[in-house]
């Protein structure tokens, strides 16, 4: 199974926190409330919740790419 690489665009993030609510071991917020990706290559068990985070992000700030 291929793994994903997680990217977050800190410029478009509006701090809604949906990503962190979906998975707080992959997503965090800094002191400005802006998204921080803690692990760019999350383990397979996080895949669904990471997908959910990307889907729920109101700002389209999270991108998932397939990583080799």
């Amino acid at each position: 199974m291929s793994t994903v690489r997680v990217e977050a665009d800190r410029e478009s993030c509006i701090s809604a926190g949906r990503c962190m609510a979906a998975n707080s071991s992959v997503f965090d917020q800094d002191d400005d409330g802006i998204v921080v990706v803690r692990t760019t290559h999350p383990a397979p068990e996080h895949r669904d919740s990471v997908r959910k985070a990307a889907y729920l992000c109101p700002a389209g700030a999270i991108t998932l790419r397939s990583a080799p």
Partner: protein, 395 residues
């Protein structure tokens, strides 16, 4: 071509869509509706289409545009048309939002939890002291969000009833009441900001004075407009979500029983309740500032457009059995907080208030039930915050 149906329409049940919306939903995901003033506007009823529209670059919140859709008379006022954030487009919108985001992020809000628990416990003590029947609107749903946002801002506690009453009138009064109440609020906030500029205290207003006014990023009047929108946006929305959420649960005893049996289901249950009740009915009023292609139609530059949260949340293309309340629904996706750059700033605060309040009520008053028939609850509001005026319960 059939005639444009009227929107908004009043509900006849606190949590179910108005009967006339079924037909509107069937004609979706995009159609024209007729507003109270006779003008027509585009309306989006699909969930996916709502997300697509609300992230479209040609969408504008500029309420001063002559074609901006007005869904009720009180939205004609100057104050309603110039609200900070809500009535702004980028880049100013984004700049303001960045000033506020750190103070409403999920992390910031989670730090407020112990204090929220203490506040809610106090209100539930009062409900128990009062004894049945107790009106949960007056004893909990109205005062809680008001106290919480006042504390967060650093507004003196003595004034929180004034805020509660005036923000209620702004959101729900007649056109004239709304304008007067908004002016009173502005005058009061104006003097509050002046005090904070002289002598900043610990709350968000004082922090913004130190971080933004002192540095010259914003002036006195801008801080007043920010404080105004925070106070207005935080009250009725959260208060109604709490009251309607309680009614909905009490009217679905099977779901309530599941929640009693599995308290860890609460966060998911709250999302499902938010989906189901669609607190504000409409989640966005906008104007196109360029053509927007959506669902095979073209919204032209300068045309008004609305998003129905009530219908998008129950879009059968996204939710199986959309009209069924299921607190363990796997993906209770909804647009109750909007979507895109204007998605609710206070959503995490609202969620945590609801969670703490539901938890406290469920554990301390487990046998709670409605003291009157749901059909006899007085309800109000169409196209905006759906409100219930009283909520008597017994146990």
């Amino acid at each position: 071509m059939t005639e444009a149906p009227p929107y908004p329409q009043p509900r006849t049940c606190p949590y179910e869509p108005p009967p006339g919306y079924a037909e509107i939903g069937e004609r979706g995901p995009i159609l024209k509706v007729r507003l109270y003033d006779g003008r027509e506007a585009w309306m989006i009823t699909g969930y996916r289409e709502s997300r697509e529209l609300l992230t479209h670059p040609n969408l504008s919140s500029q309420r001063t545009h002559p074609n901006f859709p007005i869904v009720a008379p009180r939205f004609r006022s100057q104050i309603a048309r110039t609200l900070a954030l809500i009535a702004m487009d980028p880049p100013v919108h984004d700049t303001y939002r960045r000033y506020l985001n750190p103070h409403f992020s999920l992390k910031a809000v989670r730090r407020m939890r112990p204090e929220l628990e203490r506040i809610v416990k106090g209100y539930v003590d009062e409900i128990l002291d009062h004894g049945p029947p107790a009106d949960l609107v007056r004893l909990l749903a109205v005062p809680l969000p008001s106290l919480v946002i006042c504390r967060h801002l650093g507004v003196p506690y003595e004034d929180h009833e004034f805020f509660q009453d005036s923000s209620g009138a702004v959101m729900l009064g007649t056109e004239e009441e709304s304008a007067t109440a908004a002016q009173n609020l502005v005058d009061y906030i104006d003097s509050l900001v002046a005090d904070q500029v002289k002598n900043p205290t610990d709350g968000l207003l004082g922090t913004l004075v130190r971080e933004r006014v002192a540095t010259g990023d914003i002036g006195h009047d801008e801080l007043v407009s920010i404080a105004l929108v925070l106070l207005i946006a935080a009250h009725e929305t959260t208060s109604s979500s709490l009251a309607l959420g309680i009614i909905t649960l009490l009217e679905h005893p099977d779901q309530l029983a599941r929640l009693h049996a599995g308290p860890s289901l609460l966060p998911g249950a709250i999302e499902e309740l938010l989906r189901y009740i669609a607190t504000t009915d409409l989640v966005a009023t906008r104007i196109a500032k360029g053509d927007i292609e959506i669902a095979g139609r073209t919204i032209r530059d300068g045309e008004p457009v609305l998003v129905s949260g009530t219908l998008a949340n129950r879009d059968p293309a996204v939710h199986g059995d959309a009209d069924v309340l299921d607190i363990t629904r796997e993906n209770p996706h909804h647009v109750t907080f909007g979507f895109g750059i204007h998605q609710c700033l206070g959503q995490n605060l609202a969620r945590i208030e609801l969670e703490v309040a539901f938890h406290e009520l469920l554990t301390r008053i487990p046998t709670m039930r409605l003291a009157v028939d749901v059909a006899d609850l007085p309800i109000l509001g169409a196209g905006t915050v759906q409100r219930v005026l009283s909520l008597p319960v017994e146990w």
